[in-house]
């Protein structure tokens, strides 16, 4: 027996008793997946808050065009505002940076870097990620990318202002903020690539004994597919980003056609012959899979929380897995539905419309499975469950409103209107972000050993739910009324003026939504130190992370877990408790 006790895992644990890391290695330049996960979570939550603040400034200009921005107007710099009133370039910079920050610095790092890093190794019974140093590098490259993005606000002429899509030639002829944006993007993509290989190898190689692929929690499946999307979709944009940098800095013309005349001046510094559409293809080849990079981790979290709080197995686990894998594949062949208005002919548009309709089917299956899981359940209305349940109708609205945009005939009218803004925000804001909130409330006890306050959680949930709908639902009506997106002052146009009341409603909802986050922020910090102490498995859950101590020590598990059953063995007939953890053999 003693021979067996000195297996690889035993030595692993012993090594770390020998050299206790110092403060810097333990909390700052840590290679521990849990510390890195927490670093990612905190950093990305701060970026989400910052991106939200940018949007609140924009909403002032939209609701009350050309009036002084209250409170912070006087601090806005020269390129952003004049006399406290936002200017067109400032508004465009806020728009571009809001999108970039929310997507690349907020949600992706939170869903993948934060939750993926902290939870995935624990859920598969691994002591750490496969490549801990790569993991640390991934975080610090992300951090640097964030600093560069923030730094771009101080560039001459302000931050990038060509939209988060950075369409050429506008982006190539833009001021130097765009160069900063491109450098920042190259760093962020590099970070995601480093992370994605790590997730794939970890999931394939480090699963506990007995944890076959079809015993993996759905969250792990979602992260696994996400990692492949990151790995395969991000390199084209990294390449495109470098090409655009070359166009800006080295005088190449990858995206610049011949014969441009900007403000009456022929642009002879570009040799010409490039294609502006090439950029759009490269960009959307990344950016459509990107949508699923945003939503899948949240979907994984929602599935975990729903299984745990319905006290029954997820309905159609295998359908869910096949759907999410199929979704991943299909997400690579729908990108050009973002480009129907570029002059696409019938053949190409038919292909992309068909793939777009096909990709809606797995989404419908996933949603249907999750809803049927509620049938004959025993639902506990905990705070994470509230957010997870809210995710379902919100994601349904977001998904369904994609249909008229995916059909070219209806897209003609709705393209580039607020309908689009409403559609994708329903997917990523009340959809994804609510899923991520569910995850924060759900795994908080694992990270800290303490639970967040239920009362404050409910005070956070209900107003957030109401106001977030108050922001985005009116946008569908604005969009159908023909109000175009990215308008500094929509009332300049006759359609925009007619629907201005809806915009005011959205703006007030946005500011109230900010107020509704105060209980969360307070709850989060208060609970770290003062929250109620709970056991290692407060939610009576089945997956492996709950078999580790809270918070888990370096190396995670006291004994190496062995898995005996599927991930969601709740309410198994004939058992003493209504949950059978994966690492405990079922009683005969």
């Amino acid at each position: 027996m003693s021979e067996h006790g000195h297996g690889p895992q035993g030595r692993h644990g012993h090594d770390h008793h020998g050299d206790e890391p110092g403060f810097w290695q333990k909390y700052v330049f840590s290679v521990d997946h849990k510390v890195i996960g927490i670093q990612y979570t905190i950093t990305s939550l701060l970026f989400l808050f910052f991106g939200f603040c940018l949007m609140m400034i924009m909403r002032w200009q939209l609701a009350y065009p050309n009036s002084v921005v209250p409170v912070i107007g006087k601090y806005l710099g020269g390129a952003m505002a004049s006399g406290g009133v936002l200017v067109g370039d400032g508004y465009n910079a806020l728009g571009a940076m809001h999108g970039t920050i929310m997507v690349f610095l907020g949600i992706v790092p939170l869903g993948v870097g934060g939750f993926g890093n902290f939870v995935l190794p624990l859920q598969i019974g691994a002591p750490d990620m496969a490549f801990p140093r790569l993991n640390m590098a991934s975080y610090w490259v992300y951090f640097l990318g964030g600093v560069v993005m923030l730094g771009s606000f101080f560039a001459p002429g302000g931050a990038a202002a060509s939209g988060w899509t950075s369409y050429t030639p506008l982006a190539v002829t833009a001021l130097s903020g765009q160069t900063w944006w491109l450098f920042g993007m190259v760093l962020l993509i590099t970070s995601s690539l480093l992370g994605s290989v790590n997730f794939i190898v970890t999931t394939v190689q480090l699963r506990a004994r007995g944890l076959s692929f079809f015993r993996l929690p759905f969250f792990v499946w979602a992260q696994f597919v996400t990692a492949f999307l990151l790995l395969l979709a991000f390199p084209p944009l990294e390449a495109a980003g470098v090409l655009q940098l070359m166009d800006r800095l080295a005088g190449t013309s990858f995206f610049m056609p011949s014969g441009l005349v900007v403000s009456g001046v022929p642009q002879t510094q570009y040799s010409g012959g490039g294609s502006p559409l090439l950029w759009q293809h490269l960009f959307w080849f990344l950016a459509h899979p990107e949508v699923y990079v945003l939503i899948l981790p949240a979907m994984g979290i929602v599935a975990e929380v729903i299984a745990n709080n319905t006290r029954k197995p997820l309905w159609g686990y295998k359908s869910l897995v096949y759907s999410v894998v199929f979704l991943g594949f299909m997400s690579f062949v729908v990108w050009a539905h973002h480009m129907f208005m570029t002059g696409m002919g019938t053949a190409l548009s038919t292909f992309f419309q068909a793939t777009t309709m096909i990709i809606s089917v797995p989404s419908v299956i996933i949603l249907t499975c999750l809803i049927i899981s509620l049938y004959r359940a025993s639902i506990r209305y905990t705070v994470p469950m509230l957010f997870a349940l809210a995710f379902l109708p919100m994601f349904a609205i977001g998904g369904l409103t994609g249909l008229p945009l995916g059909l070219t005939a209806s897209d003609i009218h709705l393209h580039d209107t607020y309908y689009v803004i409403g559609h994708f925000h329903y997917v990523v804001a009340p959809g994804t972000i609510f899923g991520l909130f569910a995850g924060i409330y759900y795994w908080f006890p694992k990270v800290t050993g303490r639970k967040m306050s239920d009362l404050l959680g409910k005070i956070h949930f209900w107003p957030s739910f109401i106001f977030i709908n108050g922001i985005f639902f009116p946008m569908f009506f604005s969009g159908m009324a023909g109000v175009l997106r990215r308008q500094f002052d929509q009332t300049e146009q006759i359609h925009g003026a007619a629907a201005h009341g809806l915009t005011v409603m959205s703006s007030w909802s946005a500011w109230l939504l900010a107020v509704a986050q105060i209980p969360f922020i307070f709850n989060f910090f208060w609970s770290i130190w003062k929250g109620r102490k709970v056991t290692d498995n407060p939610w009576e859950a089945t997956t492996l992370e709950w078999s580790a101590p809270s918070p888990p020590p370096h190396g995670n598990f006291a004994t190496v877990p062995v898995v005996y059953c599927g991930p969601y063995e709740y309410s198994v007939p004939g058992q003493k408790t209504d949950f059978c953890p994966q690492h405990v053999a079922l009683e005969a």
Binding site: L260, G316, M341, T346, Q353, R376, P404, S571
Partner: protein, 312 residues
């Protein structure tokens, strides 16, 4: 096109309500309570399969019956050359240039070196023998005949714009280095007067806002209590928000309770693709003529050798 938007939304609503009813039912019925446990065995629900198949079939119908024919007509069957009215449209930061061939029906050649503020396309305006001599170029003013197929050749001088007439459901990106044709026909009834009449609205003064009404003019004379005209027919609320607020206050004070307003110019060409800091201001007013009126306009504008605008 609007019909497909309606059909899709009805379908979406049905699906959403169906899901919603089941969802709410489960949330109420299966709340955790003592003595009630969850059922381990999965339900054998065929319904979900039917729903998914139905969704698939409906989407196929939308695609094959509605969307593809509309798109094919929109993209693949241009009106014959002898019937259509051809106009070149050039987008630039931040204006639309409309280029008409003039009386001779031939577009003049362009040269980037000749571009000035008053000759935005670089036409050879000094040479009376050039086919461009009688060409008409208007800035931010789009004249078109109703009832006749329009054939627009779109291009851009600098960045990507998007040519959009929301009221007519026309939208097409305008891309530098490419010339993209689009075609459409304005229906006979779409004259400015008719649209203005249709878009006339009446609402209480206290609900009025300058933002909402900044492009509107009074449709009738608005009288105060004492019978004096406070807002004459054709007058607007003023160029700025401050003017508008003042005007509205004055109207309320003199006892006007209701405003009857209509758009000054009911049709606009706007830019739907972010093109820089004044993207939102990039719009052209659309002036519709009947065929005779349009011919007269061409005749009048073709005669001077200079382009049609002298105020630059």
């Amino acid at each position: 096109m609007d019909r497909i938007i309606d059909v899709v939304h009805v379908f979406m609503l049905l699906l959403f309500v169906g899901w919603g009813i089941f969802f709410v039912h489960c949330l109420r019925r299966y709340r955790q309570k003592p003595g009630h446990a969850a059922t381990y065995q999965p339900v054998k629900a065929k319904v979900s399969k039917y729903v998914e198949v139905a969704v698939g079939i409906f989407e196929a119908i939308l695609l094959l019956v509605f969307s593809m024919p509309v798109w094919a007509e929109y993209k693949s069957s241009p009106p014959p050359a002898d019937q259509r009215m051809e106009v070149r449209v050039v987008g630039e930061q931040f204006q639309w240039d409309f280029h008409y061939a003039g009386k001779d029906g031939v577009f003049g050649k362009m040269d980037a070196r000749l571009i000035t503020a008053s000759n935005p396309l670089g036409l050879r305006v000094d040479d009376p023998a050039d086919p461009g001599a009688d060409d008409i170029v208007t800035i931010n003013e789009f004249h078109m005949p109703v009832g006749r197929p329009m054939y627009l050749r779109l291009t851009s001088k600098d960045v990507i714009h998007s040519f959009s007439i929301p009221t007519m459901r026309v939208k097409q990106d305008v891309i530098p280095g490419m010339e993209i044709p689009i075609w459409f026909t304005a229906v006979d009834g779409a004259t400015a007067e008719e649209l203005r009449r249709q878009m006339t609205e009446t609402f209480p003064v206290e609900k009025a806002s300058w933002y909402r009404l900044r492009h509107h003019v009074a449709a009738i004379d608005h009288m105060g209590k004492d019978g004096e005209v406070v807002l004459a027919q054709g007058a607007d609320l003023g160029p700025t928000k401050a003017d508008g607020d003042e005007k509205l206050e004055a109207l309320a004070k003199t006892g006007v309770t209701e405003l009857t307003m209509q758009p000054r110019v009911p049709l606009e060409v706007v830019c739907a693709q972010l093109c820089g800091n004044s993207h939102f201001k990039m719009k052209a007013l659309l002036v519709t003529h009947d065929q005779a009126g349009f011919d007269a306009w061409i005749e009048e504008k073709s005669n001077p050798v200079e382009p049609s605008f002298e105020d630059f």
